[in-house]
Amino acid sequence: MIATSIKWTRHNLFGKPFDVVLSLLVIPGVLWLAYSITDWAFVSAKWGIIVQSLRVLMIGVFPADQAWRAWTASAIIGAILGAGLGCVFSFKPHHGLVLLLVPVLLLIVHGGLGNALPATGTVASTILGWALTSYVPLSRKVLPAAAFTGFIVIVAIMAPPGVGLWGGLLLSVLLTLVTSVLSLPIGILLAFGRQSRLSSLRIICTWYIEVMRSVPLILVVYWIWILMPVLAPQWGLADVARGMIGFTIFYSAYVAEYVRSGLQAVPRAQTEAARSLGMSEFDINRSIVLPQALRVVVAPLVGNVLDIFNSAPLVFIIGLTDFLRAGQMILANPQYGDRTFEVLSFLLATYFVIGSMITYAARKLEDHMATGTR
């Protein structure tokens, strides 16, 4: 064992003179970096600020006495996401254990049940949703309807204190979900429109896509925020809704381009075979071309979801308090001025964990979609 590791080290790290120099520089450097980070994270850092500000980070300026509304909403979101995951990837008990680490960690750090309760609720409902669709395949059939109802409930339950008060990680997640779900059908329609035989439709769709892809997201969001009250003053749309519309308008163009690349990847022979069976163009596109096209572009589409989530902080431009902005708000308090690293590290870690979970789910989704291909 020791002999092989010495041999491995010799071969891989000290094989040539240049390797020796490189190893002598890099190995101590990495060790020092690891030591400093560990030392800071476990000795110097005062993580108490995260626990104290957890509510603000998670739900922004949502009133404290109404927080149960936001926690219920996040539990519903957890259940929907878990149930969605269960459709493509079976739940195993050890997944539950990993997820439960979050509330357990909170419990240990904070030493009180009150603060850990919302996290426990969200994690528990995620596990429940995941297990339900994993073990009861029949429940998958009602998922779209259930998810839609769940979303209505979320809006209904979060609206009373004022839609303008939505914020924190919850807002980031909601924005990402709404944008992803709405931009998919719009993007698909745009992609088909761009290939349409009607030249007017084709030109409109092409223009829309090209314009949206050549301007910055932040500009579109700001512009829609200003424009909506002018176009539809009677609707009195809240900032949050206007932000979601801006994001959806922008990201639909990107979805359209991904879907178009998928449509082009479907062999012409597929359309010809379907045509020769007498199928209508609508049926061909819906049942033959689109499923095969979407299968090809699962990875870029999920990348798009990740992109939406990571762009969510841009909503600060219209005065919303997303996750990142909530972190900045905490740091704006002079009392916490010296905790910059703690707060930013927490933001970084959370973004990283959520992003990794999205890509992980994407891999599982790709495996699931690969049915019928060798």
Binding site: P267, A269, Q270, E272, A273, A274, R275, S276, L277, G278, M279, S280, D283, S287, I288, P291, Q292, R295, T371, G372, T373, R374
Partner: protein
């Protein structure tokens, strides 16, 4: 003796390239017509015109009582005739054209359910009967990717038959197959021919042509050079180019 397909001085161009030149051809009901010719001669294009996968520019083409619109009319929306024709005409392709994301059974039932508005039970019962006929009942719930080329092509034939066509078009159905699988597909086609199905077959299988065809058509550079009984054509071709074509393909 009524013609199911009737072409009268049909012409097709790809841009300025004249692909089909003044084609006059009639296929009788119940007839098996094999179309021969070198690659690039226009034989695939000819049968692809019959179900409207290719458009023609001049002349006329009547399929199963419906007049196939010429290109200029189709651009203006002659889609109704097209749908009518396609319902009654099955087509089998060189590359099978099975839908890879659907099981064998779903591949067969989708068109009868969507186009003929059959219930799932009806469509599946028919599909299972057809799978029996092509010897693949046991593979109903597999995906096309799990089958061999020969099996896929038999599924493709069953899929076309599920629409109860009056006419079947075969576009080089065995050209993409490994040699040992050619036989099983030809057997199914032979059985189909003997059941009285009208067939237009583009193939390079000379043995099949000679045995099964009622008439053989030889095309070269977009023109029909010879039409005749298979024995007559193979033993005593009148046209020089047909003779040299046969000499080339029958040598081995």
């Amino acid at each position: 003796m009524s013609a199911i397909v009737e072409m009268k001085s049909m012409n097709k161009f790809y841009g300025t390239h004249h692909v089909l030149k003044d084609i006059d051809l009639a296929v009788t009901r119940g007839e098996v017509m094999v179309i021969l010719g070198a690659s690039g001669s226009g034989k695939s294009t000819l049968i692809r015109c019959v179900n409207g996968l290719e458009m023609y520019q001049h002349g006329s083409l009547v399929v199963d009582g419906f007049e196939m619109p010429v290109e200029a009319d189709r651009r203006l929306g002659g889609e109704r005739e097209l749908a009518q024709i396609r319902k009654g005409v099955g087509m089998v392709f060189q590359q099978f054209g099975l839908f890879p994301h659907k099981t064998v059974l779903d591949n067969i039932t989708i068109a009868p359910m969507r186009v003929r508005k059959k219930t799932r039970e009806e469509a599946e019962a028919t599909a299972m009967k057809l799978l029996d006929r092509v010897g693949l009942r046991a593979h109903a719930h597999k995906y096309p990717g799990q089958l061999s080329g020969g099996q896929q092509q038999r599924v493709a034939i069953a899929r076309s038959l599920a629409m109860e066509p009056h006419l079947m078009l075969f576009d080089e159905p065995t050209s993409a197959l490994d040699p040992e699988m050619v036989g099983e597909v030809l057997d199914v086609m032979r059985e189909l021919a003997s059941s009285g199905m009208t067939m237009m077959v583009v193939t390079h299988e000379m043995g099949f042509a000679r045995e099964v065809a009622d008439r053989v058509v030889y095309i070269d550079q977009g023109s029909i050079l010879e039409i005749g009984q298979p024995d007559e054509f193979f033993d005593n071709p009148k046209n020089d180019r047909a003779r040299s074509f046969l000499a080339r393909v029958l040598k081995h």
